[in-house]
């Protein structure tokens, strides 16, 4: 059943863009993938290890700015820039992790919030590097050919497949981690950090590795954001609200589950994109409402509950 769902999901992912020419639906699918990607990478640390970060927008912003700046000033290929964004995000995650993981529970969350605000303010004010609040703009993307076909960047299809590839990578990574020794360490940290340390687990190391992996993928996603929207400014990519939305996607879908962020992104992003047309930030009303309802009535998230109903897994 589980395998069947996975295969069906991937098959749908591959053929989905052929089903519609409607630009809105294409955009919607890309956004669902993008947020699945972010939710899944946040879930690596926030779900599996129970370390609720309110600062993941930092890595998104670093990825976006790295990709943009390498392309605009050094003329690096944006694909290389995206990779560099992921690597820089992961490198930045090292000191952040070593500092913030000295704190526990809500204190950790507050510290990540503070770090994210510091980075946002630096990006806003370091105008020589980031152009400050004016932001950065890419007008044309370079020619790329696959099997002698030049890719048409004006269409949304290439971005769809790019997002799909990244999302599959993120979900595969979460699945691999959940099956690995690291995943077991992270669960131990989540359930009882003192007992985990007493059994000899280096909890700081485990959490830092989870954060670095998570930051790497979010950095890649930042690069994708820059290429897809072609415009970034500090308040767009370093905003607290972005970090919070990642948290919401993972929690509403189901913490510490591989498929949770997919469900969370489908539910929340579909609502938000439909309502975005009607009233600008109205969709966040639903984010807040869903978050409260889920924590109150479905603490395991929508997917966490569904998989019991579908009896994919025996109740613990």
């Amino acid at each position: 059943m589980k395998r069947l769902l996975t295969v069906a999901g991937i098959a749908f992912l591959l053929v989905a863009p052929l089903l519609t020419n409607n630009a809105f639906f294409q955009h919607l699918m890309i956004m669902v993938l993008f947020w699945t990607l972010l939710g899944a990478s946040w879930n690596l640390l926030g779900g599996f290890a129970g370390q609720v970060s309110f600062g993941h927008a930092t890595f998104l912003g670093i990825g976006a700015y790295t990709t943009m700046l390498f392309y605009l000033s050094l003329h690096w290929s944006p694909w290389l820039g995206m990779l560099a964004g992921g690597v820089l995000g992961a490198l930045l995650a090292l000191p952040i992790g070593l500092i913030c993981f000295r704190l526990r529970g809500p204190y950790f969350s507050l510290a990540t919030l503070a770090v994210a605000e510091i980075v946002r303010l630096v990006a806003l004010n370091w105008e020589q590097l980031t152009a400050g609040p004016v932001g950065l703009l890419i007008t044309t993307l370079p020619q790329v050919s696959i099997a002698d076909h030049a890719i048409n960047w004006e269409s949304k299809i290439p971005f769809y497949y790019l997002a799909a590839g990244l999302t599959l990578f993120a979900i595969g990574l979460t699945y691999a981690v959940s099956r690995s020794r690291l995943g077991a360490y992270l669960t131990a940290v989540r359930e009882d950090i003192d007992s985990a340390e007493a059994t000899g687990i280096d909890t700081v190391r485990a959490r830092v590795i989870a954060l670095v992996l998570s930051a790497f993928v979010v950095g890649l996603a930042g690069g994708f954001y820059a290429l897809y929207f072609r415009y970034i400014d500090p308040d767009a990519v370093f905003a607290i609200s972005l970090s919070v939305e990642m948290v919401f996607i993972a929690v509403v879908g189901g913490l510490a589950t591989t498929a949770g962020p997919i469900v969370g992104a489908i539910v929340l992003v579909t609502i938000s994109e439909i309502f975005r047309d009607r009233f600008a930030a109205g969709h966040l009303i639903f984010y807040g409402l869903f978050m409260m309802l889920v924590i109150r009535y479905l603490p395991e998230g929508i997917w966490g509950q569904l998989r019991f109903l579908l009896s994919l897994e025996r109740r613990r």
């Binding site: 503070a114 510091i118 004010n125 919070v244 919401f248 930030a281 984010y287 869903f290």
Partner: protein
């Protein structure tokens, strides 16, 4: 020297209002062990309440605090009774996320109904600052400062002299023992949450003549509030007062002597340093 005195004065005045917001957050934490991320939205609601009662009914914000503080006290009790009470036993992190949801909900409902315009409230007597000893003192901020002191004193008397106050302090020290001594802990939780909300809203009402007003203003205020309570020690009322004044001073002096653009950053760096090296607060009174 004049510049120094000027920034000390404005730092203390703003800091006193920060302190008032932070006291609300810190007593709620002290009693219930929850960090209320929606606290900034309570300030925002107070600000909007005062704004509308001034623009529509012509009631001076410094008078309408008498309406809005009790109204938000009742509102806070209702929020606790119907929204929070059943979530708090689910754990610290769940409550944190739940209040994050509440914060997003309230801020965006306000955005939906009031639009995202920046508003200001100009009081006729507030156009020119008073100038005692050659230092400019904005009149609305000075009145707000005096009223903040009065409200804080009132809270101090409530906590130290009344039965409810004793019950609140007992619950903060140890809920189980308090319950054994006959304190209705749930009722005290509800009253404390109401008090915290009322303090935040009252600070919002007092701040309206001096601050830009927009629906997401709570986001910035709550972050400042965290800085303050961590500086002073989470759960400590005197710590929140000292932390509030300290942050006000750091911001105003930092803006003058370091950089206007980075004045908020200084607060955050201080916050991180305290969180790392003195998690029980600068004065060592909080519980980490």
């Amino acid at each position: 020297m004049e510049i120094f005195a000027q920034s000390v004065v404005s730092g203390v005045l703003t800091g006193s209002l920060y302190a008032m917001i932070a006291i609300g957050l810190t007593i709620v934490f002290g009693v219930m062990r929850i960090i209320n991320l929606a606290h900034g939205e309570m300030v925002m609601l107070g600000m909007f309440g005062a704004y509308w009662s001034y623009t529509l009914l012509g009631i001076d914000p410094f008078l309408s605090v008498v309406i809005w503080a009790p109204a938000m006290f009742a509102g806070g009790m209702l929020i606790h009774r119907f929204l929070l009470k059943d979530v708090i036993p689910k754990g610290e992190l769940n409550t944190l996320l739940y209040t994050a949801g509440l914060s997003l909900l309230l801020a965006n409902l306000a955005l939906f109904f009031f639009t995202g315009d920046y508003r200001t409230l100009n009081l006729p007597y507030a156009l020119m600052p008073a100038r005692p000893f050659g230092i400019a003192v904005p009149i609305p901020l000075a009145i707000a400062f005096v009223m903040a002191i009065a409200i804080t004193l009132g809270l101090y008397l409530l906590l130290s002299r009344t039965d409810v106050g004793r019950a609140i302090r007992a619950t903060a020290q140890n809920p189980q023992s308090a319950a054994l001594m006959g304190v209705n802990v749930l009722r005290i939780d509800m009253i404390t949450f109401g008090l915290g909300t009322a303090l935040a809203a009252a600070a919002g009402v007092l701040l309206v003549p001096s601050l830009y007003l927009y629906p997401t203003v709570g986001e910035i205020l709550i972050v400042k509030c965290f800085v303050i309570v961590v500086l002073g020690g989470l759960g400590s009322v005197p710590g929140a007062i000292a932390g509030g004044i300290l942050l006000g001073l750091v911001e105003s002096l930092g803006a003058v002597y370091i950089s206007v653009a980075y004045k908020d950053t200084i607060g955050f760096v201080l916050f991180l340093l305290v969180l790392l090296f003195r998690p029980s607060g600068l004065f060592g009174v909080g519980r980490s």
